[in-house]
């Protein structure tokens, strides 16, 4: 255990990076998921096929492949664009933080698309008719009726998506993000204690997973509050 002395703060800052990536990619996941679900449920054929292609591709390829493609691919594209204006530039890339967050959000977003689609379909048509009858606009119906009703149904599977998200953050160390796994590798290079260091990383992730699981339990309770009173 004494091998860990002097590394605690590095692991702490690594965990902060993990939490940052998680928050950013969570927001993006919800965004991608809602957009994807809206596209799949729309009557527009083009939007439907784009959304279908999106879910098929991102649910069928390994996460690490998406991440590397996104990171190196965008670097090549950006370099090519930058060289148009200034041929001196050798290399431009997206920071690993953003490349990683967007990549894992795209992956988990494709799963969230299916979850949200199912949840929107699960909202009772009667509720929407009632909103219409009250004279709510389409937009207001969406915000005040569809979203709250859908959210309750989507929450349990979405909790699993959040867990995938936090676990996928570990992959971003491969493209050089300085999160806990990256810290562990540095610590191993100086201390030569791989088991100890990786166990610490595992424990940190287990902590994050526990927090997320507990939050989902609390959120579910909150979301179903009104049902309890009715009983």
């Amino acid at each position: 255990m004494e091998a860990l002395n002097g590394w605690w703060d590095d692991f702490f800052w690594g965990s902060v990076v993990v939490a940052d990536v998680f928050v950013v990619s969570l927001i993006l996941t919800v965004l991608f998921g809602l957009t994807g679900a809206a596209a799949k449920l729309s009557k527009n054929r083009v939007a439907q096929s784009i959304a279908n292609g999106y879910t098929i591709i991102f649910r069928g390829t390994p996460e690490i492949l998406v991440l590397l493609l996104f990171y190196f691919g965008s670097a090549i594209a950006l370099t090519a664009i930058a060289q148009i204006s200034n041929p001196e530039i050798k290399y431009v890339d997206i920071p690993p933080f953003w490349a990683g967050s967007i990549a894992i959000a795209l992956i988990v977003g494709s799963y969230a698309t299916e979850t949200f689609r199912g949840a929107f379909l699960g909202v009772e048509p009667g509720q929407i008719e009632a909103a219409r009858a009250l004279g709510l606009s389409n937009f207001k119906t969406f915000i005040y009726v569809r979203i709250p009703a859908m959210w309750r149904l989507a929450l349990p599977p979405f909790g699993n998506h959040m867990l995938s998200l936090i676990k996928d953050t570990a992959l971003i160390s491969i493209i050089g993000l300085e999160e806990t796994l990256f810290v562990a590798e540095q610590a191993i290079a100086t201390t030569g204690k791989p088991f100890t260091m990786f166990i610490v990383v595992g424990a940190i992730y287990l902590g994050f997973s526990t927090i997320i699981t507990l939050s989902v339990v609390v959120l579910e309770k909150y979301a179903n509050q009104h049902l309890k009173i009715a009983r």
């Binding site: 390829t61 492949l65 493609l69 090519a80 570990a170 791989p194 088991f195 100890t196 990786f198």
Partner: protein
Amino acid sequence: MIFDFALIVDSIPKMLAGFWMTFELWFLSAVLGMALAIILLLMRISGRWYLYAPAMAYIYIFRGTPILVQIFIIYHGFPQLEFIRESIFWPILREPFGCAILALTLNTGAYVSEILRGGVLGVDRGLKEAGAALGLSSTHRFIYITSPIAIRLALPAYSNDIISLMKSTALASTITLLDMMGIARTIVAETYAPYEIFLSLTVIYLILTWIIQKSIGLIEKRMSRHVRSEA
């Protein structure tokens, strides 16, 4: 930035040379993982706390940490421990292939046991009671009544898990194994053509996913043929 088709034509056979590695990783850990999952399931439904509690702890830990961290703990971490270096398992754990199989098996076992449990819980009580009324012992009831129905109920979820296992095999490339992903990464490092290589690999993985999905779909159809013939 021009799409180099000659390079694609050239590298697809090279990547397919890694197919057997991917397949072996996938197939072996699926089979071993299933065995582990059944053991964990039996421990969980045994109703004895000293069997139930370790199984729960195991599932909690392996589902709460990233598979990449598990792979690193086993491959990089275990050699730090003397008793592992001296154990009879060392010849397996010394090789990256053995480590990858072990990590994938341990990981998928935790997930699959949850899926199986879902299936077992979904079996109608009345059927088990009918079995009891016919004088079947609890072991016989489990083998002849619960299992066949539980397998059918669990199959759709299992199909998702076996696909995600296939995607996880790509992580073996991080511990020097040359599966399809590993070969692709080597080619990209040599040619620096991530678009061409990674996109063609994406297509290969999508085809694999599609094949798995269709095959399980067929099994599912066959197993529920009695349901349709009634309707």
